[in-house]
């Protein structure tokens, strides 16, 4: 279960190809009512019934928070991923009934900020679609810098430029255009907050430079949707529910726990929110921590694991679930 949220019964109202890699999906409530309100940066977890397998992938809401007649998400196809985006692209058609979680926001705007500086890479543009719409509706001060591989893969770049004109700056990799990050960060007025969403490398680069240039960590916000890494299968004993399960190579520990009928809490399924944190009762082997939630000390202690993204190699593992 996604903690603190109930689920929404929706129908796919439209499926729109955006470019070679990205498709947009529109959802409306099956009962015709308005969807719950949300704030820019929120995501929903989409449940995909793929044969006997249920996939749960988080996607940012990209519509305007001022319009809750429908939710829209954009999905970038990943041909070598675990299959969720391919399922969305191949099997989700208008009229399909689906279940999604209530929106959860782990990447919200700090509305106390005097200015919002946004940096997007690739499909990382989606949360900013909603955030810019929210700020534009309230006269907020923002500036968006968007890097994409080519103009044709600049998802929604045209829409954003049309809406916000010079508040949007584009950078194309194939034209060798690069953000002059140090200059950009050093010339922002006091009271600016920074938001970055994109590939892990970009997020690390921006966070590192911002910290080095004196941006307090409270002013730097980031979101990265990490898919669980595959790895060797391993066995886990769940002490509270008394089950022993096997985690497949393409399956996350969280997914294996869910498949066994245990209903652990989660929110982001990407190792950042902390909801699925689980105590380790005993272990003989090595953890492969892929999360951004636990401290290095927690990682070393071997007492905690984030089952949404982390794995294990070794003889035995017993978790408190």
């Amino acid at each position: 279960m996604s903690t603190g949220t109930t689920k929404l019964d929706v129908v796919v109202s439209d499926v729109v190809p955006v470019n070679d890699l990205v498709t947009r999906f529109h959802f409306r409530r099956r009962d015709g009512e308005l969807l719950p309100t949300f704030s820019g940066g929120a995501h929903v977890v989409v449940e995909m019934r793929d044969g006997d397998r249920t996939r749960l992938n988080p996607y940012s809401l990209m519509g305007s928070p001022l319009d809750t007649r429908e939710y829209t998400i954009s999905v970038r196809r990943d041909d070598v991923g675990r299959g969720g985006s391919l399922f969305m692209h191949r099997s989700v058609k208008p009229g399909l009934e689906m279940v999604i979680s209530y929106p959860v926001n782990l990447f919200s705007l700090d509305l106390r900020a005097k200015k919002h500086l946004m940096l997007a890479g690739g499909i990382g543009i989606t949360p900013f679609m909603a955030q810019t719409a929210q700020l534009a509706g309230s006269g907020g001060n923002f500036e968006l810098h968007y890097t994409c591989r080519t103009a044709s893969l600049g998802t929604y770049a045209d829409v954003l430029q049309q809406r916000y004109d010079r508040r949007v700056k584009l950078y194309h990799d194939d034209r060798d255009e690069r953000i002059d990050l140090d200059r950009l960060l050093s010339t922002q007025p006091l009271g600016t907050n920074l938001y970055v969403c994109g590939p892990a490398g970009m997020i690390n680069w921006v966070r590192d430079r911002a910290a080095a240039l004196g941006w307090p960590s409270e002013t730097v916000h980031f979101e990265h949707f990490a898919a669980p890494q595959p790895g060797a299968p391993f066995d886990v004993a769940l002490a509270v529910s008394g089950k022993t399960i096997r985690v497949g190579s393409q399956q996350s520990l969280l997914e294996a726990i869910e498949a066994a009928g245990v209903d652990p809490p989660y929110l982001c399924r990407g190792g950042v929110c902390g909801q699925c944190e689980t105590n380790v009762i005993s272990h003989d082997g090595k953890f492969i921590h892929n999360d951004h939630w636990l401290s290095e000390e927690d990682h070393r202690s071997g007492c905690k694991i984030m089952p949404c993204v982390s794995r294990f190699e070794g003889k035995s593992l017993v978790l408190e679930r």
Partner: protein, 198 residues
């Protein structure tokens, strides 16, 4: 250092050098010692990009020691009121990357923080260290007058003359502790006045 009692009561830390290009220190009297202690932990060249605003105590101590740090600027206004326009100007023109360090009395820290909050710096992003007197800046909740340098409990409101219980309830917006009438039921009841915030 003041102990935390209720949730709004500010707690202060120990200054530590932050990464960044510009460093602004605002200090009074014994607050200079916090800067000097921190200087021992600062990387070489740290004070090349630092501005120190220092309100010396009446004894004029610590000025030479601060000068020896060779900050880019050392400014010594006679009072907080007199440094205010300059502080506002500095913060208005500042860019992200400026780090703020506030040290000395609670009145100084609170009032400088108040200006910095308006300029857009979150209070959690500021370095603070309490040094010197525990004297409080107090707002009378009845007449709204502010009395500076309150050291007794109860304390007399300098504006309306009510006898006030100085509470730990603190307003970051006003940079002041709240004072509430201690003998509202019977004004002839005068509890003994103690030196509570020396």
């Amino acid at each position: 250092m003041a102990a935390k009692t209720i949730i709004s009561r500010p707690v202060y830390g120990t200054l530590s050098p932050q990464p960044g290009k510009h460093h602004l220190f605002v200090a009074d009297a014994e607050g200079a010692l916090a800067i000097l202690d921190m200087a021992g932990k600062a990387p070489a060249g740290f004070f090349d990009g630092a501005e120190i605003v220092f309100i010396p105590g009446s004894d004029g101590k610590h000025i030479a020691a601060l000068e020896a740090l060779k900050p880019a600027q050392l400014h010594m206004p006679p009072s907080f009121a007199s440094l205010l326009p300059r502080l506002k100007q500095t913060l208005t023109n500042a860019h992200m990357g400026l780090r703020l360090y506030l040290c000395g009395t609670e009145g100084l820290i609170g009032q400088a923080m108040q200006v910095a909050l308006e300029a857009g710096i979150d209070h959690t992003s500021m370095q603070t260290e309490h040094r010197g007197s525990l004297a409080r800046r107090m707002q009378c909740v009845h007449c709204k007058g502010i009395t500076e340098n309150v050291t007794t409990q109860p304390a007399l409101c300098a504006h309306c003359g009510l006898l006030l219980l100085v509470r730990d309830h603190y307003s970051r917006r006003l940079a002041a502790f709240q004072g509430v009438c201690i003998n509202a039921e019977d004004r002839t009841e005068i509890p003994p006045m103690e030196e509570a915030f020396p």
